[in-house]
Symmetry: C2
Subunit: 592 residues, 2 copies
């Protein structure tokens, strides 16, 4: 078969090159335009190397340290397998890995390498169950039951026994990571300011449903059952999280606030102050993970006169439901997802709603996205979620940027009528400053868009009028716009987003560490809200940061599921003393 | 391929025979010794037809009503597929079915036919999700969220809205059936005397673990994650059940007692009196399922003088833990599973334990059973639980009886030393009156055995002395045995089992209905505790009973999972008005 032989031949040459990276002519292996995206396997980091020089530099530095071998083609019936691309497996000195190779004229265009599990430190599961021989089934004085052990952990963890890893934030991000660490036997404690897992969702506005379809949203190890609705209600996902934490035996402290954290270089551990109910405790974990989500503290713009407003004004996170607001003049400041959802909710409850749009907004139709989603591998019957997650990594962010321009063109054609009607209504529509649309806005700034689930129609028909521009001043009974017009209001909702994640580092640890670590999320694209230099991967997420033993876990459900594996592997390796030589390329490249 | 062609040829001839059952010579199709085991597909009942006459009689009566067609061999890579046996699929006028055929010299030895799903009334799942097009994602006045709907059902079900099906008993049996009915959109209410799902397990003695390994215990639709322990602690399974009920959106009333039920023939509905907390309500379901388990009310033997005992005496179901009983003389009456487990628990807490063995007991070693279990299909990586459940049905109870004698022989050889030591200690060991051992005892009487998880060793070494015989009288400080000896006691535990399920029918409905329905469970083997006539299937379980609209759901986790499908299909068919011509063969046969 020619298919596998050209891929196999490349892998053989590649393995030989790794054995002698300094004397290899890398231009024989990699195409002119080329990318090597690595998830821990070679770099113990999440990086994309762009171009032959960057690739050669990394290989020269890492190949000897990593000791990759045993490259072999994977099952040819997998998706994304044809004469020019395919999956493969290999090992390093410390881990089992898989990868994907895309050839162009016999040379690599994109190479993906990803760590899957540590050798000798595998997850529990299948043949490796806890107490595989049923040791509970023994008569023994002083025998302890599962409940005895869970209760003891409840009593001692965080007190006489310190967790190796402390996760601050018990939303889906924290829980998914904690579940993986549990399977890897890494002692972990999750703390959250709210009482129970899922309360973050329960407290949101009543009409909230996930915007991603179910097949993107699975949690590790316990996929949703097949009859799960396509879009999950916030309360149902909240219940799921509560159950998940229990089934996965996650050690979770609710009603616990983290107030300060300091890293003791000498002891190699954190000193973290937390307040649990009334009690203040100091935790001493070796590793600290912030999983508080992209959305940290509320962001409310300072608008002159706001204190004189006679009606109710609150941040979008405090909106519960439009019930009781029938007939009221409600002004929502903002035009992204939450703003739209709250406008719709208020309209459904017969409020008189106005949206204040301060800047242009990307809009994509959920219906269109759903049609698109049906064709992706995730949605296929019997899809392997782990593989699907890897498939999503086979296009690095630089070619992705170009791809998304094409996708925007496609959406503009498919939904031309929709976009035309929306713009006619006065709504300030755009597709991003470089026309890369919704997806790139998500990666660059985690905002700036609305996935339309009904709000745009109400805007197009004028049911929800939109006022463009900034608010100059708030007075007792309404808002004075910068253009001199007046918008009367009984209620003001600030759907103005959240402060960036890294500010939380400044508050919790120190401004120095905040500066050292730098921004989280974003690619360094040099576009609005995503200053350069170009990184080519999400900054600081799921990988080593400039602060030792400080990590960030976040993203949507799919990212959280996938990358929690990588973060868990890094933490486990450090706990077990597995060598983790981190390689980070200099970021001196131009943004795409 | 000869393999499939002989099987395929048989199926072709069989399909032709079904088209003209009266003029068919069934001896051409079925071997001299032959069985047709049917799960609803042809009989809307769970029956095994033994011999050609019984088979011909059923076929003549049912073939025309059922309209089976489209017989086709299934995937040849499935287990139990070779030149003489294989899986097949077919349809009836109302259902999709599958089956398994075992040939002997070209004629059928065992034919299994099983209904899988109703045509036009399929379960939700996969491509058929609730609200598949994400209708929640619409702006609509008065739109109701998932939570609104769940809350409304909570308010109205059992009050202004009557359930189609009422399940009495919210243990694993009730929950599994309710989950299936939910997926089939059959409005169902589960009631249980205890507060929360799982409380039945939580309340048992602290050291209790499931005796079946995890791969037998999966609940429908939501398999345990792969890292689940091989044997699950009672508290962990209790948590799982609580979560399962929530995830599956089962409508569950806890703290609810059912006090009376009467069937109104004319209205075609039940009138069921329940007390929920303080309130007494009348429910009017069309179908009533008793899922209170094989173990109904406690059975405590009447022993002369028991009222004079000065110590504590209680039924095994009230035993929590041996904690606090160190040094106490504890007498456990009984020698089955619970008796052994409680003896061990008491011993572990340094009590001075004596077991009173009133009758011979079958003992099998869990270690041996576990080795055996490792080889079964359930335990294989990636095993399909639905298929495994069907595989378990391919040996009807008559050949099974013979098979189990051989298995007993095997165990006696493998564990010869163990059995010898146990008998030497004075323990009254046997393997059933016809040497069919543990499995047949389970099917015939759901008791009479101990799966050894450590207790037998303590008995063999004399750590737990055994006294054989009946208790003649209880006095203030101990038990007088029938042989005249005395056993001093501070505590007496009655591990004497439970009253049979059908007594509950007498109490709840009427003695007439109890008589009409007859015993539940058991095969009619004519052995101790399982009076004839021979039924060849478990009596009254998961199938129509002599009382219209009254059903029994029970068994171990594996049976409950598998047969809840059959019970759910029968209930769904009746709700939808799908014809369900029940065929029950006359039970005039001799027991094996």
């Amino acid at each position: 078969m020619i298919t596998s032989s050209s891929l196999a031949a490349w892998l053989t040459r590649f393995e030989a090159a790794l054995a002698a990276p300094a004397s290899t002519d890398w231009s024989q292996l990699f195409a002119e335009e080329c990318y090597w995206r690595d998830l821990l396997a070679f770099t113990w980091d999440i990086v994309t190397l762009e171009g032959r020089d960057a690739i050669a530099a990394m290989a020269r530095k890492q190949a000897g340290l990593i000791g990759a071998s045993g490259f072999a083609l994977d099952n040819p019936s997998l998706p994304m397998t044809d004469e020019a691309q395919g999956w493969f497996t290999f090992k390093t000195a410390t881990a089992r890995c898989r990868g994907h190779l895309q050839l162009r004229d016999g040379r690599a265009y994109v190479l993906l390498t990803a760590m899957v599990e540590l050798i000798g430190h595998e997850e529990m599961g299948g043949s490796q169950r806890p107490r595989p021989d049923g040791i509970e089934h023994r008569a023994k004085k002083g025998r302890r039951t599962w409940l005895d052990e869970r209760e003891e952990i409840g009593r001692t963890l965080g007190r006489s026994v310190q967790p190796y890893c402390l996760i601050v934030g018990g939303g889906q991000n924290g829980l998914m990571l904690a579940a993986r660490l549990k399977r890897l036997s890494v002692p972990t404690l999750v703390i959250d300011a709210l009482e129970k897992p899922g309360d973050g969702w329960r407290g949101r506005y009543r009409s909230l449903y996930l915007h991603d379809p179910v097949f993107l949203d699975h949690f590790p190890y316990l996929p949703f059952p097949e009859h799960w609705p396509l879009y999950t209600s916030k309360d149902k996902i909240a219940d799921w999280m509560e159950l998940y934490a229990k089934v996965m035996e996650i050690d979770f402290w609710g009603s616990t606030r983290c107030t300060a954290a300091r890293y003791d270089e000498k002891a190699g551990e954190w000193s973290v102050t937390v307040t649990r109910n009334e009690e203040t405790l100091t935790l001493r974990p070796k590793q600290l993970v912030l999983a508080t989500g992209l959305s940290g503290a509320k962001q409310i713009p300072t608008i002159r006169g706001a204190e004189h407003f006679r009606g109710r004004q609150f941040h979008s996170s405090e909106h519960r439901s439009g019930a009781g607001l029938a007939g009221k003049r409600c002004v929502v400041i903002g035009s992204n997802n939450s703003a739209h959802d709250i406008c719709v909710d208020l309209w459904e409850h017969d409020a008189r709603v106005t949206m204040i749009q301060r800047s242009a907004t990307i809009v994509v139709r959920a219906d269109t996205m759903r049609e698109f989603a049906k064709s992706i591998y995730y949605a296929q019957p019997g899809a392997d979620t782990n593989l699907a997650d890897l498939m999503g990594m086979t296009m690095p962010f630089r070619p992705r940027t170009t791809f998304e321009k094409g996708f925007t063109d496609h959406l503009r054609k498919v939904d031309a009528d929709f976009y035309q009607r929306l713009e006619k209504s006065g709504f300030h529509l755009w597709h991003g400053e470089d026309e890369t649309g919704f997806f790139m806005a998500y990666y660059r700034r985690a905002g700036g868009y609305y996935i339309d689930v009904g709000g745009s129609e109400l805007i197009a028909t004028g049911e929800i009028p939109v006022r463009r521009g900034e608010v100059a001043e708030i007075v007792a009974d309404g808002l004075c716009m910068a253009d001199g017009t007046f918008v009367p209001a009984d209620v003001i909702v600030y759907a103005t987003g959240y402060r960036p994640m890294n500010e939380w580092v400044g508050q919790l640890i120190s401004p120095e560490v905040e500066r050292k670590v730098g921004p989280c999320w974003g690619l360094g694209s040099g576009t609005e809200c995503d200053a350069g230099p170009w990184e080519g991967e999400l900054r600081n997420m799921w990988k080593p940061t400039a602060q030792e033993a400080l990590w960030f876990q976040g993203g949507n459900l799919a990212q959280s599921r996938f990358h929690s594996l990588h973060l868990a592997l890094q933490l486990k390796a450090r706990m077990e003393g597995v060598p983790t030589p981190v390689y980070r390329p200099p970021s001196t490249r131009n943004a795409p």
